[in-house]
């Protein structure tokens, strides 16, 4: 189960959250009321140069003080505020969502890789593993993830998703089967610029997790989707694979297909599988991975979960259901069902 929907406006024009809220709500029967969420790219233009850290606090005393002490020690908090929420009906504020616009002082991380992104990752891992009652669940620049336990429309109303604007949206309706529904476990999963929505179960989770751990990542979210965000960060950012090849590492061609390829491709894909075998994902899945300049949707290698793509003008949609896309855009120009493992990539052209 689980319902996913995403859209990118390839010219970078903004969309508010109203349409995607309705589209996701159409897929209510793909969830269980235990988790829904939205990610929007372009959410914070006023703080575009800062990392927008969204944190769930269990209370505003010890964990908040500990997080802020840590952030102030390793960089500068430009602005912070509670994320506005509107409780109604069944939605209970289980955690207090807070956001910081933060810039790390990379000179303080001189002994490590000095990239800003690595500094942010190490701070997130520290908070998520060492500070009880605090969980960083969104950390990109000009990106916001909004999620909670509840139905799609409840979560949207809780955050007033319809009031946010961005050029790229992801949304997810969760039907948890592995772990109980909790706010941190809802999708989208985010790390830095990467956000992920996922329908399915990753049966290779144990292998993927252990592989990621050897590169310094720590999985703290108690669910399998987390590894996709980290794998995207590892392969897409740190190893600089282009999106098509990143997807081919995560859902590679079968050996039989590789054996039939011309020599150049055969060597390339053999090398990819040899190096990235532990990163390949197994089990049923349909996934959309987003970063500021593209979305990439793909399914597992034998397509055990549905995925449909469609275009209208400059917009590319990827979803579990055609009907959900049609809620957002009734007049589609092009609609297709991608082959198993084949990436659908929508790039920003601006």
């Amino acid at each position: 189960m689980c319902g996913i929907i995403s859209v990118i406006d390839r010219l970078g024009n903004s969309m508010d959250g109203e349409a995607i809220k309705k589209a996701l709500s159409l897929m209510d029967e793909r969830g269980s009321g235990e988790g829904a969420g939205y990610a929007v790219y372009g959410a914070y233009p006023d703080y575009a140069d800062y990392y927008a850290l969204h944190v769930f606090y269990d209370n505003l005393l010890e964990p908040k003080a500990a997080v802020e002490e840590l952030l102030e020690k390793w960089g500068k908090i430009e602005h912070s505020e509670e994320i506005p929420t509107y409780s109604s009906g069944r939605m209970v504020k289980k955690h207090i969502p807070w956001r910081y616009f933060f810039k790390p002082d990379t000179s303080l991380f001189a002994n490590r890789e000095s990239k800003e992104e690595d500094a942010i990752i190490s701070l997130i891992i520290k908070i998520n593993t060492e500070i009880n009652g605090a969980l960083v669940y969104s950390s990109g620049k000009n990106i916001g993830v909004f999620k909670a336990s509840g139905w799609p429309e409840e979560v949207a109303d809780f955050y007033r998703i319809q009031d946010y604007e961005g050029y790229l949206w992801l949304a997810h309706n969760r039907y948890p089967t592995n772990t109980s529904g909790w706010w941190g476990g809802a999708h989208p999963f985010n790390l830095l610029d990467w956000s992920v929505i996922h329908n399915g179960e990753i049966t290779s989770y144990g292998t993927n997790r252990r592989y990621l751990e050897s590169f310094g990542y720590k999985c703290t979210m108690l669910t399998d989707t987390e590894v996709v965000a980290y794998l995207a960060d590892l392969l897409g950012r740190r190893h600089e694979l282009p999106p098509e090849m990143m997807v081919k590492a995560l859902a590679p061609p079968f050996w039989d297909e590789i054996d039939e390829m011309p020599e150049k491709d055969r060597n390339l894909y053999t090398a990819m599988r040899m190096a990235y075998g532990p990163a390949m994902m197994n089990g049923p899945f349909a996934i959309v991975v987003a970063r500021p300049d593209y979305i990439a949707g793909f399914t597992d290698r034998i397509k055990l979960r549905p995925m449909v793509a469609a275009e209208a003008g400059d917009r590319l949609y990827i979803s579990s259901e055609e009907a959900a896309i049609r809620v957002m855009e009734p007049n589609l120009e092009n609609i297709w069902m991608p082959d198993a493992g084949e990436p659908v990539i929508g790039r920003l052209r601006r």
């Binding site: 049966t203 290779s204 050996w255 053999t270 190096a275 049923p284």
Partner: protein, 503 residues
Amino acid sequence: MTTGATPPKYKIKIDDDECMLCERCIDNCSYGVFRREGQKIVADSRKCTACHRCIAMCPRDAITLIEKPNDYRSHPLWTRDAREAIYKQANSGQIILSGMGNARDYPIIFDRIVLDACQVTNPSIDPLREPMELRTYIGKKPRQITLEKTKSGDCDLKTKLSPNLKLETPVMIGHMSYGAISLNAQLSMAKAVSEMGTFMGTGEGGLHKKLYPYQDHMIVQVASGRFGVDINYLERGAAIEIKIGQGAKPGIGGHLPGEKVEEEVSKTRMVPLHSDAISPAPHHDIYSIEDLAQLVRSLKEATEWKKPVFVKIAAVHNVAAIAAGIARSSADVVVVDGFRGGTGAAPRVFRDHVGIPIEAAIAAVDDKLRQQGIRNEVSLVASGGIRDSADLTKAIALGADAVYIGTAALIAMGCRVCGSCYRGLCPWGIATQKPELVSRINPDEASKNVANLIKGWTLELAELMGAAGINSLESLRGNRDRLRGYMLDEEMLKVLDIKPIGA
């Protein structure tokens, strides 16, 4: 002290009504159990090793073999084995030798680990209808791939790969030397691995010319005795293995008695006829990881960096740190042999009391290599007591890339695990060099049996993976989430890094 003969361990009975006096039992028993007395076959049960050759060959099922109940005074501490060992040593003053693997009743960890299967929330995969990929590459892997985009938008591969072995199934046959086992036994296994797209080890006995047609599926071994090693040998192998230790006898070397060194063995091993071939415990040019690295690189240099180099160690307490050192020595593959590994001959006290089980060793090595961020750059082969496809699957889920089997392959050729390999009288023609016994193996037939075994395990592995919703071996490797411990204590669960059942 005077010690008398010990009671026979086995009792042979012949049903005279069924026996047709064909004397096949006499011909087949290399231990001399049977003789004919007039119109009767008589058995000397004291000589019996329970090899079952007579039973297998009797056309009338006239022979019965029973393990004799303990007729010593029963005692929980002074068991039959304990007492008989004392009698033996009181008589001989020697080290007690034994064959095959550890014969102690330690709990088997594999049997306390259960596998996962999918139900409803994710689908099982049917290997009969869907692709199931068991191919794996053994050798050094790059940490990352570097690509360059061409003008046409393609990606060019910039990373140069190290040589790897391509396995169509993650089951290899471990090193059993020509000398320890017969040429026909080696030939049978070599044919089988060639057919199945996998590999076997030569052991430290050199490579007989009859095995040359299968050399692309053979891993040649450099052990401390350096028997049979020259550039021709190294160049013929698909890979080279440096043997530091073996699971059945960690910390000690090997000894092929002179009587097994007949002409062909002597030529192949490059040792004088009928001389004892003694492999020392240490390699006399390796006293540190740095020395090991020199040998690894020397072997690579000698073979123009075209072959992966394996290093095999016995599973011991500090195996993880040792394996990490090996991984950094330029070796491509670390082989860890657990304390249930087989042997042609080992001091019994070593075989039964030294080392650790392979399950714990793989888990510890895999963990350490991951902590050091180098797990994916080196392959890990597990061996030592892999009995079936369940052990194979669990070993891979714990972190191995592939396994070596030894005893299982011998059993496929007829071995009955009688544990008398060191005597050179194997009635099944396996652990012997006596021509009349060796000829009992027909390599064409025996190779089918070995290939069938590997095929059967491979099919079962595919089914187990499919049940767990996994369609490629890469996704099973190190996937400890697919394992649960049953009746294992907390500390062992921690070492294995698996959850208990129900969690």
